[in-house]
């Protein structure tokens, strides 16, 4: 990752541009360009080898005008507070654009789970809650899994929270395993949500999805389910890139006839890394990771990390690409955005495109609060309905006002949050 890249600055720049378009007053700008609350703390952990180690944790609550904050917890060795700030802001826009009654937050711990035992990770989770239990909860801020955290981490956190409070609050956290307060359909939600928006965009562009091809960056949960649904709809995924833990670099796996999701999943490790040797045996070309963006296809789906389509590589995008669907948060820099805009490449912005995850998390919280759980069809049916409705709301505004899709989405989100803040008498 580019060390000079500052995600928070990028998020603020994006916001400032929208604030200008909406002609927001100074108070609104002040309120929304910085988080409302930040928690920075340390988490001391007794390691398996008997030593003690202190980890740094964060929770940034950007805005809760629309409802309790909502956002994931990331375990990452290169985590920075500015990244978490940016992500918390994006969460505010994301919950607002899909019109769910939640605010935005994000948390993280600087650590590398690859080098930690399960017990050590559990201690980090419990320590994180011990530091924050007064500031999170079903009515304040609802965490969820994010980069390198999963349902098990959420359960440890829930257990610690319930131990401290002495009450059962299954809606305190989302992303829990099914049967332990988790929602059916949560695993698929983000990836499916990406493709729900792609499907609608292609319809508007008069493109038959069955005649399209796509390249995906990342082979985690989002890409896997996005590719699955994209294939089911008749699209052909040509390439997928992933991080190789052993080589500490990424590779792109390309097959002209289309990748076979099931065969790739059979040779993928638990972190989403595809076995190169076996992939070659199966007829895949193994390319450097950054090549995913150069594939001659119709659709690019960056679903890995932020800052992936930049001023440096944006011109490597094939002239045949017609659509970028941002499965990850903040994968396109403003500089690259300008190029895409000029080239007329249709953009489904991150906080709309990948909002399926938070929408399903919202469903999970609703189910937990009711203590009544829905069928998978019900979850996915509502998810599709919600995502499609949100997409068309943004797309309609973009068409009517001749806006770039990202700008239209921002305008809807920021407007909703500003209105809620005004209604509450904050500004």
């Amino acid at each position: 990752m580019d060390k000079s890249f500052n995600a928070f600055k990028m998020a603020q720049d994006q916001f400032d541009a929208v604030a200008d378009k909406l002609n927001l007053n100074e108070a609104s700008r002040e309120l929304l360009r910085t988080p409302m609350r930040e928690y920075h703390f340390t988490i001391p952990v007794k390691m398996d080898d008997g030593t003690s180690k202190v980890f740094r944790g964060f929770r940034i609550q950007h805005n809760d005008a629309l409802g309790p904050c909502k956002g994931g917890i990331r375990f990452h060795p290169q985590e920075t507070v500015d990244t978490v700030r940016a992500l918390s802001m994006w969460m505010t826009w994301k919950t607002a654009v899909v019109d769910i009654p939640l605010g935005g937050s994000k948390g993280g711990v600087i650590c590398d789970p690859h080098n930690l035992s399960a017990r050590e990770q559990e201690q980090i989770c419990r320590g994180w809650i011990r530091q924050l239990h007064r500031n999170v909860g079903p009515l304040r801020d609802i965490p969820a899994p994010d980069v390198m955290t999963n349902g098990q981490h959420m359960l440890w956190m829930l257990d610690e929270y319930e131990t401290i409070t002495g009450e059962k609050y299954p809606g305190m956290i989302t992303g829990k395993p099914v049967g332990m307060g988790g929602s059916l359909g949560r695993t698929e939600a983000t990836g499916y949500g990406v493709i729900f928006t792609v499907r609608e965009a292609l319809k508007e562009m008069n493109l038959n999805i069955e005649n399209t091809t796509a390249s995906f960056q990342g082979f985690g949960n989002v890409s896997q389910y996005a590719i699955k649904l994209y294939n089911q709809l008749g699209g052909k995924a040509l390439c997928v890139s992933c991080w190789d833990q052993q080589d500490q670099t990424s590779y792109a796996f390309y097959k002209k006839e289309g990748i076979n999701l099931d065969e790739l999943l059979n040779i993928t490790d638990r972190f989403g890394g595809i076995n190169k040797t076996k992939a070659k045996e199966l007829g895949y070309e193994v390319l450097p990771g950054e090549k995913w963006i150069e594939i001659d296809c119709d659709i690019l789906v960056p679903s890995a990390m932020e800052n992936q389509i930049t001023g440096e590589n944006v011109n490597k995008i094939s002239s045949n690409v017609k659509l970028v669907a941002e499965g990850a948060n903040g994968p396109t820099t403003p500089e690259a955005d300008e190029v895409l805009k000029k080239r007329g490449i249709f953009m489904i912005p991150d906080f709309l495109c990948n909002a399926g995850g938070v929408t399903c998390s919202y469903f999970e919280q609703v189910q937990c609060n009711m203590n009544y759980f829905w069928s998978k069809d019900e979850v996915l049916g509502k998810l599709d309905y919600k995502m499609t409705t949100a997409y068309h709301k943004v797309s309609k505004l973009a068409r009517e006002k001749k806006l770039y899709m990202r700008d239209a989405a921002y305008m809807i989100s920021v407007d909703r949050v500003v209105r809620a803040s005004v209604s509450r008498g904050w500004i």
């Binding site: 059916l184 359909g185 698929e188 499916y192 493709i195 729900f196 389910y225 699955k228 649904l229 089911q232 709809l233 008749g234 829905w374 069928s375 998978k376 069809d377 019900e378 996915l380 049916g381 509502k382 998810l383 599709d384 309905y385 995502m387 499609t388």
Partner: protein
């Protein structure tokens, strides 16, 4: 799909004509509906016949690709092909998911509808002439009046999954075995269709449901076979399809009195119960039951009798006569006289015009299912909803019967009421219900016994002659033998006869007869007079192969000779001389 357009969420369910979801095939029933729509548009472009609105109900078809996707995604073939019970299979289907492809469309579809829906199978094999599957798969009505979209959505998807599951129910599996087709080759599309009808309190139902056949397999002496036949019922068409009591008449001669012996006979054999969609409280939530959202009511419980003004006469018990229409006294009798005789509704005019149009377009005799609603105060125009169109298979081979007399020794039985056409020389097995032990209270057990015998014939690839009492295929165990088609699928010749204690009223159950026609089964209806000549003694002298308390299987030394003259509905089953003991 012919005549259809892709389902769009913006336009939704209430679209002019068909919409479809997914890819693949529409199946036989949906194709029949599409053809019906084309016929209506061509022949009745105004959508109106004699003041009655005529159309296809709003319909969305889930094409067969949705079924394929559902089966694959949920890996359902393993349990589907196992020996699991029907209920276990249905529950497995209901617990499975449509995944991300179609749930959004279904949620969107149901969110904007608040009227009852019928979820009907439309399989690739169903309704085809070569291999009939009519009535094998389940249809489920959903009330769709819940306040929450979520509840409506769940009821709809559960109904779809139930219809899917019915492909793998026991009777269906047996049938596939019988016809030697791999059940995995079958593909199921599903029709989601508006129920034609009106709301009356807690119930929703059509005013009249009907099945028309433009060819009558049981014409009376004065009426030609091609004059057709219609069965009418008050409420949902389930009454007719199940073979329950309804009103039958000839559309060419709607005023011709029906052959009842006396007033008591008529009173005993007119419809007294009807099916409706239950919009009230559901007492038995059961997603694996076809009747979950249905109610079976008595017509005598209808509060406002004036509702029946187009379909009933009133029994004047003092004078032992019927007075057309609803009167302030006396019991209502559903003889449809106001509509058929006084033409208070132009139903018969509509029926005749539609039959002609369909015959012209399909170049064959046809069977049509329909439902009529009276309309509302706001929109009082009655409506004829066209629900299904099927061609009828009629053999054209000319068969001349030998001159025989009733007392002729070589005749096992003869009848002037026979369905089918042709000659059979390959039957030497007879399965019959033992007259000495027959009692209508045991008909369910008899049906089960016959199914066991049929299974043996199926595995041995042998055909047989089946003789029994009362209606075959009735849903009312007091009227005859309540078998499903697969339970007698290897019967090549079926004889429906009577005992002195029974009334001879032969079945026109739509699906049951469609199956028999398409399989070229010879169906002998033996009335009380002919039954006297049925040579029971001779049958009972034959070699017994297998028997239960109620059913016996005997085998002859030589094959029977069976001749059926379809032109005149005459038939005869001849003993072979060598069969004499």
């Amino acid at each position: 799909m012919k005549s259809g357009q892709k389902f769009e969420r913006e336009t939704g369910f209430f679209h002019d004509g068909f919409t479809y979801i997914g890819s693949g095939f529409p199946g036989g029933k949906a194709s029949g509906l599409a053809l019906s729509q084309d016929i209506l548009k061509k022949h009745f472009p105004e959508g109106d016949i004699a003041g009655m609105r005529v159309n296809i109900p709003h319909t969305t078809v889930l094409l067969s690709g949705v079924f394929d996707q559902f089966m694959m995604e949920n890996e359902l073939y393993e349990i589907s092909l196992s020996d699991a019970s029907d209920e276990e299979i249905a529950i497995s289907f209901i617990n499975s998911s449509f995944g991300g492809l179609y749930t959004g469309d279904l949620y969107s579809l149901i969110s904007n509808i608040d009227q009852p829906l019928a979820v009907r199978s439309s399989s690739i094999c169903e309704d085809s002439l070569n291999e009939p599957f009519a009535g094998f798969y389940e249809t489920k009505m959903v009330a769709n009046n819940q306040v929450s979209s979520t509840d409506k959505f769940n009821a709809l998807v559960n109904a779809i999954k139930y219809v899917y599951a019915s492909l793998f129910f026991k009777q269906s599996k047996k049938y596939f075995q019988t016809i030697s087709i791999d059940i995995c080759e079958e593909k199921m599309a599903v029709i989601i269709q508006e129920v034609v009808g009106d709301q009356h309190g807690d119930y929703f139902y059509p005013y009249i449901s009907g099945v028309l056949k433009s060819y009558n397999f049981y014409p009376s002496e004065q009426i030609e076979q091609d004059a057709g036949f219609a069965a009418l019922a008050f409420g949902l068409g389930k009454t007719i399809v199940d073979g329950s009591t309804c009103w039958s008449y000839c559309p060419r001669y709607p005023r011709t009195p029906q052959p009842f012996n006396n007033m008591k006979d008529l009173l005993n054999n007119t419809q007294k119960e009807y099916w409706a969609v239950n919009l009230g409280k559901i007492n038995n939530y059961n997603p694996v039951a076809e009747t979950e959202y249905l109610a079976h009511n008595s017509i005598f419980d209808i509060g406002d009798r004036s509702l029946l003004k187009h379909i009933c006469s009133t029994y004047d018990h003092i004078n032992d006569r019927l007075i057309m229409g609803v009167q302030n006294y006396g019991a209502p009798v559903l003889d449809f006289a106001p509509t058929l005789r006084a033409e208070t509704l132009p139903l018969n005019t509509v029926i005749n015009q539609i039959i002609k149009a369909c015959e012209d377009e399909t170049n064959s005799k046809v069977e049509i299912e329909f439902a009529v609603s009276l309309g509302t105060t706001k929109d009082p125009q009655p409506r004829f909803g066209f629900l299904q169109l099927r061609p009828i298979n009629i053999s054209n081979e000319i068969i001349d019967l030998p001159e025989i007399t009733d007392s002729s020794d070589e005749v096992l039985l003869s009848s002037k009421n026979v369905m089918g056409n042709g000659i059979s020389n390959d039957i030497c097995d007879i399965v019959y219900i033992r007259p000495e032990n027959f009692d209508t209270q045991y008909t369910n057990q008899i049906a089960a016994d016959i199914a066991e015998f049929n299974a043996i014939f199926t595995s041995n690839k042998r055909k047989y002659l089946l003789i029994g009492f009362g209606r075959w295929g009735t849903s009312d165990p007091w009227c005859g033998i309540p078998v499903q088609w697969p339970q007698i699928s290897n019967a090549k010749i079926i004889v429906e006869t009577v005992l002195p204690s029974m009334r001879a009223d032969f079945s026109q159950g739509a699906h049951f007869f469609h199956n028999m026609t398409a399989h070229n089964v010879f169906y002998f209806s033996v009335d009380r007079e002919d039954a006297k000549n049925l040579d029971w003694n001779w049958i009972q002298q034959q070699k017994t192969i297998n028997e239960t308390k109620f059913v016996k299987h005997v085998r002859l030394k030589q094959n029977l000779k069976v001749l059926v003259d379809g032109r005149h509905s005459n038939g005869v089953i001849m003993k072979n001389e060598d069969n004499k003991q």
